[in-house]
Amino acid sequence: MKHSDRIILDSKQFDLTIKRLSHQLIENYNDFSNTIIIGLQPRGTFLAKRIQEELHSINKDYSIQLGALDVTFYRDDYRRQGDPLVPNETEMNFEIENKNVILVDDVLFTGRTIRSGLDAMLSFGRPSKVELMVLINRRYERHLPIQADYIGKNVHSVVSERVKVTWKETDGNDEVTLYTPDNE
């Protein structure tokens, strides 16, 4: 870690944040029988899984269905930025028609990924309500009128900075750092 790097959430705060987000959901939904949670590939799926597990550990009756959605083919930067991205797997083994959907991603920045995510999700049907949950909300740099309903943490940052979310599952520890990349 360089001097300029700043930890926004350490593993303890990270854990608390996930617990808080889960309780916020319980507050709003009571019962999750008609609700599904969809993580955006690749990194939103980790948060979605954690929330699902946390809800289940709070109350065994809260078994909420989980999906993973890839947005590659719905992106608006195809042919505009470098070569095509390699798509990830989509796992949507349920109907979303008339369901409440909680769309989950790790970082909300320009809002373009969420826009693609909404399009991708709607190609599976017409949900009755959609809410957005993000771990990190980077303010001031939105390109589209999209806001999250559940926010782990708000971050005030400049465009040149990057937010890095690491997960126990793949990176060994839960942490969010803000850093300035070299040569950009």
Binding site: R79, D83, M92, F124
Partner: protein
């Protein structure tokens, strides 16, 4: 790797193994897309594609058209039967006229081998070869290999025999290149009159006894007898051909293992394959057709998205 090593899809010969794997993994995602309630993605919405068919086609043409529509591309169709080609216009003139209507990609089938390659050198658009004479039919080979991969998990190490009219078949040549690049063992089987003279230089063994070939293989790819390309008699009669090289249920059941039967279509039922085999559980002919759309979507998506 997220890009192809080529600018056009002219033949499997020019592709690397990595290209094939990239096309397959992308096709996996598209296969998932075409099984959704809404089977369309917006990726190619600012692309216009011309489908130029200078030779008859049902499956390939419909499959390409559907793939293009599923990707939201705008398309124009052209077939030579009722066009100015009949008035003597050259290929380059025809295509350049079409391109001046702001077309980005061309999918072309042509009776002359090398037509796609020729076009790629003279016009400014991405070219996808949808079959050029008896030369190559790359998307067919891709969908065949994709179907084998889907059935067995991997193409590597599989034994594949291609049976029938190898001489007039672009499907055979593309499949030989494709399957070998993916590590499969390929043999061809048919009457010697329908086997090209120098096929052994491609590392392909020739078998003339169908039963022997079937005993060896995991997958049998039955080809159509292309009567329209045969300007002389290559075998005494269809009946004789069918008796020696046709696959029927009795022959299939006499093998001590379950092989997979494929056919690129259109089928001459009762000639190279009987109806009960074509419609049996061992046949993946209709899976091939479904996979064709996904594979073509992958090819178009990867070519169109490639930066110049």
């Amino acid at each position: 790797m997220s890009k192809l090593s080529v600018e056009h899809l002219l033949g499997i010969k020019h592709l690397q193994k990595e290209d094939l794997e990239l096309i397959f993994s992308t096709a996996d995602n598209f296969k998932q897309v075409i099984n959704r309630p809404i089977k369309k993605v917006p990726s190619l919405r600012d692309i216009t594609i011309a489908n130029l068919f200078f030779e008859n086609s049902t499956r390939t043409k419909l499959s390409f058209e559907l793939a293009e529509k599923r990707l939201s591309a705008d398309i124009i169709n052209f077939s030579s039967a009722n066009s100015s080609v009949k008035k003597g216009e050259t290929l380059i003139d025809t295509v350049n006229n079409i391109l001046s209507m702001k077309v980005d990609m061309v999918v072309m089938r042509h009776p002359n081998p090398g037509a796609a390659e020729f076009l790629s050198k003279h016009v400014d658009a991405k070219i996808v070869n949808a079959g050029d004479g008896a030369h190559e039919h790359p998307t067919q080979a891709l969908l065949d290999a994709f179907s084998i991969r889907e059935k067995y998990g991997d193409v590597n190490g599989k034994n594949v025999v291609i049976v029938g009219d190898i001489l007039h078949s672009r499907v055979a040549l593309s499949n030989i290149f494709c399957l070998q690049k993916l590590g499969a063992n390929v043999k061809v089987c048919g009457p010697l009159t329908l086997i090209p003279k120098h096929i052994k230089t491609l590392g392909v063994e020739v078998v003339t006894n169908l039963k022997e070939a079937l005993k060896w293989c995991d997958v049998a790819m039955m080809l159509r007898i292309q009567l329209e390309r045969q300007d002389m008699k290559f075998f005494p009669s269809l009946r004789e051909y069918s008796m020696l090289y046709g696959l029927d249920k009795q022959l299939l059941d006499s093998l001590d293992k379950q092989i997979t039967v494929m056919h690129p279509g259109p089928i001459n039922r009762g000639v190279e394959i009987t109806s009960d085999v074509a419609d049996s559980k061992q046949s993946i002919i209709l899976n091939q057709v479904e996979n064709g759309v996904a594979v073509r979507m992958a090819v178009l998506y990867l070519l169109a998205g490639k930066k110049e």
